[in-house]
C-alpha cells in the first residue's frame, strides 16, 4: 500500500520540514481519521458511496481541527522546542489512543467500500477499489505538490520553513502558518486512513504501524524533503511486499527498524535527501 503510506508520510514530512517538529502522534491522527470514518459512514443514511464521500470530506477537517487545536494549546506554548514537542506529542499520543479506546471501544470494525467491482483479468481478479485508492492518493499527492510549489499559501509555508524570523518580518503570521501546516499534515494522514478503512478495519491501535512506516519513509527520504519522501514511500511500499515474501513480518520489521537507525547514524540527510 505504497500510495496510502506516501500520503501519511508526506503529512509527517511536511510537519517536520516546515515546523521542525517530530510528531510522534502522527499515527494517532491516522487512527482518528479511520475511527471518524467509521462513525460518519455508520450514521450516514443511503448507499455506502454517500457515507464514504461524506467521510472523505469530514474526517480530514475534523482531524485537522484537532491538530490545529493541539498546536494552539500545546506546541505553540513550547515555542516549538524540538525535544519538548516530542515529549508533548507522546502525551498527545496517549490521550488520543485512550480517547479512541474509551469512546469507540477495543473492537476492530469494518467500513463498507463505496463500490464493489472487480477487474476480471483472465488469470486473476483485482479489486477495483484498490486501484481507486492508488489513483485517489496520486491525485491528492499531486494536489499537495501543486499547492506547495504554485500557490501563495505554499510559498508562505516554504518561506517560513527557510527562515521563520525573516518570514515574520515580512508580515507573515507564523503562528497561523504553523497551525495550518500541522492541520494539513494531520489531515493528510486522515485522508489516507479514510481511503484504507474499507480494506483494513478501523481499530484504536491501528496507528502504530503507519507511524513506524512513516518514520522509516521520512528518514530514508531525508527529513523534510517532500520529493525524497515520495520516492522512499514507493520504494518501501514495494519492497515491504517483496521482503515479506522471504521473511516473517517480525523479522522484516526488525531489519527495517535497524536499517532506519543506521541510515540516521551514517547518512542523516537521508538516502535521497538534499544537502542542507
Amino acid at each position: 500500500m505504497a500510495a496510502v503510506l506516501a500520503l501519511t508520510a508526506v503529512g509527517l514530512s511536511l510537519v517536520f520540514g516546515v515546523m521542525r517538529v517530530v510528531n510522534v502522534a502522527h499515527g494517532e491522527f491516522f487512527m482518528l481519521g479511520a475511527v471518524a470514518a467509521w462513525f460518519v459512514t455508520a450514521f450516514t443514511p443511503g448507499p455506502p458511496v454517500v457515507g464514504f464521500v461524506a467521510a472523505l470530506v469530514l474526517c480530514p477537517l475534523l482531524v485537522g481541527g484537532v491538530a490545529a487545536l493541539a498546536d494552539r494549546l500545546v506546541l505553540k506554548r513550547l515555542n516549538y522546542d524540538p525535544e519538548a514537542t516530542i515529549v508533548a506529542t507522546i502525551g498527545l499520543l496517549y490521550i488520543l489512543q485512550q480517547a479512541a479506546l474509551s469512546l469507540y471501544g477495543p473492537d476492530a470494525r469494518p467500513v463498507p467500500a463505496p463500490f464493489e467491482w472487480r477487474i476480471q483479468l483472465p488469470w486473476f481478479g483485482y479489486s477495483g477499489y484498490k486501484l481507486f485508492v492508488v489513483a485517489a492518493a496520486c491525485v491528492i499527492l499531486l494536489a499537495v505538490w501543486l499547492f506547495m510549489t504554485r500557490s501563495r499559501a505554499g510559498l508562505v509555508m516554504r518561506a517560513t520553513q527557510i527562515d521563520r524570523d525573516t518570514a515574520r518580518a515580512f508580515g507573515i503570521n507564523v503562528d497561523r502558518v504553523y497551525a495550518g501546516v500541522f492541520a494539513l499534515g494531520a489531515g493528510l494522514a486522515a485522508i489516507a486512513a479514510v481511503l484504507i478503512v474499507p480494506i483494513q478495519q478501523a481499530h484504536y491501535l491501528m496507528g502504530h504501524d503507519p507511524l513506524l512506516l512513516s518514520f522509516i519513509v521520512v528518514i530514508i527520504g531525508g527529513l523534510g524533503s517532500v520529493r525524497g519522501t515520495l520516492v522512499a514511500a514507493l520504494l518501501i511500499g514495494l519492497s515491504d511486499g517483496v521482503i515479506s515474501v522471504f521473511y516473517t513480518p517480525t523479522l522484516a520489521k526488525i531489519l527495517a527498524t535497524l536499517f532506519v537507525a543506521l541510515v540516521l547514524v551514517f547518512r542523516p540527510q537521508g538516502l535521497f535527501g538534499a544537502k542542507q
Partner: protein, 309 residues
C-alpha cells in the same frame, strides 16, 4: 553534608516503613524502589548529561531477560543480578557507540528505533523468550544467598538495598569531577570541548552508567516479581522513566524516586475511578512539559533549596 543526611534519612525512612506497611503497599513500595533505580539511570543520561533517550526499555529489558533466561538455566540471584547489570551496560555501550554519533532529535529517533528492534527481536525468538506472554521464573532461581525472594521481607530488602546503593552512587557521581563534566556537556557542549573534554567519551560513559542502572533494575525486577515478558521492553517502558524523571525533577538525585512513587500511586488510585490510565499518563506528560518542565524538586531547588543535589 546536608544533602548526604537527607538521602540517608530517605533510606532510613524506607527501611522503617516496611514494618508498618500493609501487605499491598509493602509490595508496591518494593516495586517503586526498583523502578526508581531504573529512573535514576534514566536521569543520569537525561537529567545530568542532556541525552534525551527514547530507548531505555532496551537496557531494562536486557537486564530483565539476562536474569530471566539465566534463571531458566538454573542460576540463582548471586549470578543473575550481576549478569543483568552487565547486560544493561553492554547493550548501552553498543547502542551508545552508534547513537551518540547523532544528537538531539536524531538521537531520540535512533534510540527509539534500536529499542523497537530489540523489542521485536524478543518477540521473534518467542520459543525462547515467551514472546508477549513471557514466562514465570522457576521458584528455585528466585533465591539470593539463601533468601527466598518470593517472600515479602527479602523482596523488600533487596529492593531497598538496590535503591540505597544506586542512590548513594548517584550522589557520589554527581559530586565527582565526572558528574560536573556531564552537566557541562548538557549546558554547553562546545565550550566543554574547548576546555579539553571529549564529548563523545563523556556521553558514552554517562550512557553506560545509565545502562548499568537500568540493567540491574531489570534483573532485580525479574527476581523480585518472578515474571519476565516482552511488554517490559516495549516503548511504554522507555516513556515511563522519562515521565518519572520529569515529574520528580530532571537533574536531581531524589527526583526519579519521587516521580516514580507519585506516578505509581496516581495510576493506582485513578484505576479505581477509571480504566483510562493511559489518559493519566498522557495528561501528566503534557502538563509537565507545559507548566513544570523542571519537575517537583527542580522547582523546589529554584525556590530556595539551592543545596539540593
Amino acid at each position: 553534608m546536608k544533602s548526604l543526611a537527607l538521602h540517608l534519612a530517605v533510606i532510613a525512612l524506607l527501611f522503617a516503613l516496611q514494618f508498618v506497611l500493609p501487605p499491598y503497599h509493602h509490595t508496591n513500595i518494593a516495586r517503586v524502589m526498583v523502578l526508581a533505580v531504573f529512573a535514576m539511570g534514566y536521569n543520569i543520561a537525561f537529567g545530568y548529561t542532556g541525552l534525551l533517550s527514547l530507548g531505555h526499555a532496551l537496557f531494562f529489558g536486557a537486564g530483565l531477560y539476562a536474569a530471566g533466561l539465566m534463571a531458566n538455566g538454573g542460576w540463582t540471584g548471586l549470578a543473575t543480578l550481576p549478569a543483568g547489570l552487565l547486560a544493561g551496560g553492554l547493550v548501552a555501550l553498543a547502542v551508545g557507540m552508534l547513537a551518540l554519533r547523532t544528537a538531539g532529535v536524531s538521537f531520540m529517533i535512533v534510540t527509539l528505533m534500536f529499542a523497537q528492534a530489540g523489542y521485536l527481536t524478543i518477540l521473534y525468538f518467542g520459543p525462547v523468550t515467551g514472546g508477549d506472554e513471557g514466562f514465570v521464573l522457576p521458584a528455585a532461581a528466585r533465591n539470593l544467598a539463601g533468601f527466598d525472594l518470593a517472600t515479602e521481607t527479602p523482596r523488600y530488602t533487596l529492593g531497598l538495598a538496590l535503591f540505597a546503593v544506586a542512590l548513594l552512587a548517584n550522589l557520589a557521581l554527581v559530586r565527582s569531577p565526572l558528574g560536573r563534566v556531564m552537566v557541562a556537556m548538557r549546558e554547553n557542549e562546545e565550550r566543554s570541548r574547548m576546555l579539553g573534554y571529549n564529548p563523545f567519551t563523556v556521553k558514552l560513559t554517562a550512557l553506560v552508567i545509565s545502562g548499568l542502572y537500568a540493567g540491574v533494575a531489570g534483573a532485580g525486577y525479574a527476581l523480585m516479581f518472578g515474571y519476565v515478558g516482552a511488554s517490559f521492553a516495549a516503548i511504554q517502558y522507555s516513556i515511563l522513566p522519562m515521565l518519572w524523571v520529569l515529574l520528580g525533577g530532571a537533574g536531581t538525585v531524589l527526583g526519579p524516586f519521587i516521580g516514580a512513587l507519585l506516578m505509581f500511586y496516581l495510576i493506582d488510585l485513578s484505576s479505581s475511578v477509571t480504566t483510562a490510565h493511559q489518559m493519566v499518563v498522557g495528561v501528566a506528560l503534557l502538563a509537565l512539559v507545559l507548566f513544570a518542565p523542571k519537575g517537583l524538586l527542580g522547582t523546589l531547588r529554584e525556590r530556595g533549596l539551592k543545596w539540593l543535589p
